[in-house]
């Protein structure tokens, strides 16, 4: 996938390009805020209470035409939704991906609490399987260079370190307190990422 030639020409215009991505940012935040609230089955009023705001304010923020975002407001909302806030400078090239996957699922994120619960549940399951001798964990460690269990199967795949230069030698020693059964699982759920990945 790529930009159309006409659009690439337009992106050469600095004013056009920055206005385009500015509007993307506004739309993305407003849309994700609504998606996350609905994912948690919260009303605007309930989210407002959690974030220490008024319902009317949430209604304003959940509008693609709103543009006066502040990091502090976003921090409050992130805490209320129990997710982390990530603010990042990006290249214009990454716009392609941002404009390609814009489904509800791509915007959903599970909460920290649900993520931990899920992680614990899966770890228990793996413990049971290991105790029954069903699962071979190979290297065992949950860190890069170890093995990643595939939920619902007895298969394991080798998980390659993302940065071999940093972690290759020290993978196991970096997490001495994590039991071997605490294997990271990346379940096939939208927006779900193991806390250990």
């Amino acid at each position: 996938m790529w930009f159309t030639p006409k659009f690439r020409k337009e992106l050469a215009d600095e004013e056009f390009a920055h206005a385009y991505v500015d509007e993307l940012l506004n739309t993305h935040i407003a849309t994700q805020l609504k998606v996350l609230r609905e994912q948690r089955k919260l009303t605007q009023e309930e989210l407002a209470n959690l974030a220490g705001m008024k319902q009317e304010r949430i209604s304003v923020l959940e509008n693609v035409n709103y543009s006066s975002w502040s990091i502090n407001t976003l921090r409050k909302l992130a805490k209320a939704l129990d997710v982390r806030l990530r603010v990042s400078f990006e290249t214009f090239g990454s716009l392609v991906a941002d404009m390609t996957d814009v489904s509800r699922q791509s915007l959903e994120r599970i909460s920290r609490k649900d993520e931990l619960d899920l992680d614990n549940k899966l770890a228990e399951e793996l413990d049971k399987k290991r105790a029954a001798g069903i699962l071979n964990m190979g290297g065992g460690s949950s860190m890069p260079g170890g093995f990643l269990a595939i939920p619902g199967t007895d298969r394991t795949i080798e998980s390659k370190p993302k940065n071999p230069y940093k972690f290759q030698e020290t993978a196991d020693s970096m997490v001495p307190n994590i039991p071997k059964a605490r294997t990271p699982i990346l379940p096939n759920l939208p927006g779900a990422h193991s806390l250990f990945n």
Partner: protein
């Protein structure tokens, strides 16, 4: 007509409008909150872009009844000041265009391509 209107916008407003159009094309109006707002004509919706001027791109779903959930047709480009359209009869003109498209969609409409296209690698 819409192309002429878009071409007349300054770079910044053009960029903002083009994004909204691209997003509507990619996602539709169900997911992004308040992406389209109502006008006094039930069938006519407006796509709002705010900046140094308030732009209102008037459009409709379909308009053919069998395509109402699949297509949007851009009808008329306007601005808004003090809660009034410029030109004042923008919604009426959009409705007139909608009726023309309904009569003969092949003559009065052209398909648009998105800004990001898929190509086989």
């Amino acid at each position: 007509m819409i192309d002429d209107w878009l071409a007349g916008l300054d770079s910044a407003m053009g960029g903002r409008m083009r994004f909204k159009m691209a997003y509507l094309w990619a996602v539709g109006d169900g997911l992004p909150p308040k992406m389209l707002t109502d006008t006094k004509e039930r069938q006519i919706k407006e796509l709002c872009v705010n900046g140094n001027v308030a732009l209102r791109l008037l459009l409709c779903k379909g308009p053919q009844s069998n395509l109402k959930n699949e297509e949007f047709t851009l009808l008329f480009g306007a601005a808004e000041r003090d809660r009034k359209y410029i030109p004042r009869d923008a919604v009426m003109r959009a409705e007139g265009n909608r009726l023309l498209v309904l009569q003969n969609p092949i003559i009065y409409r052209k398909l648009r391509t998105p800004d990001v296209v898929y190509t086989k690698v």
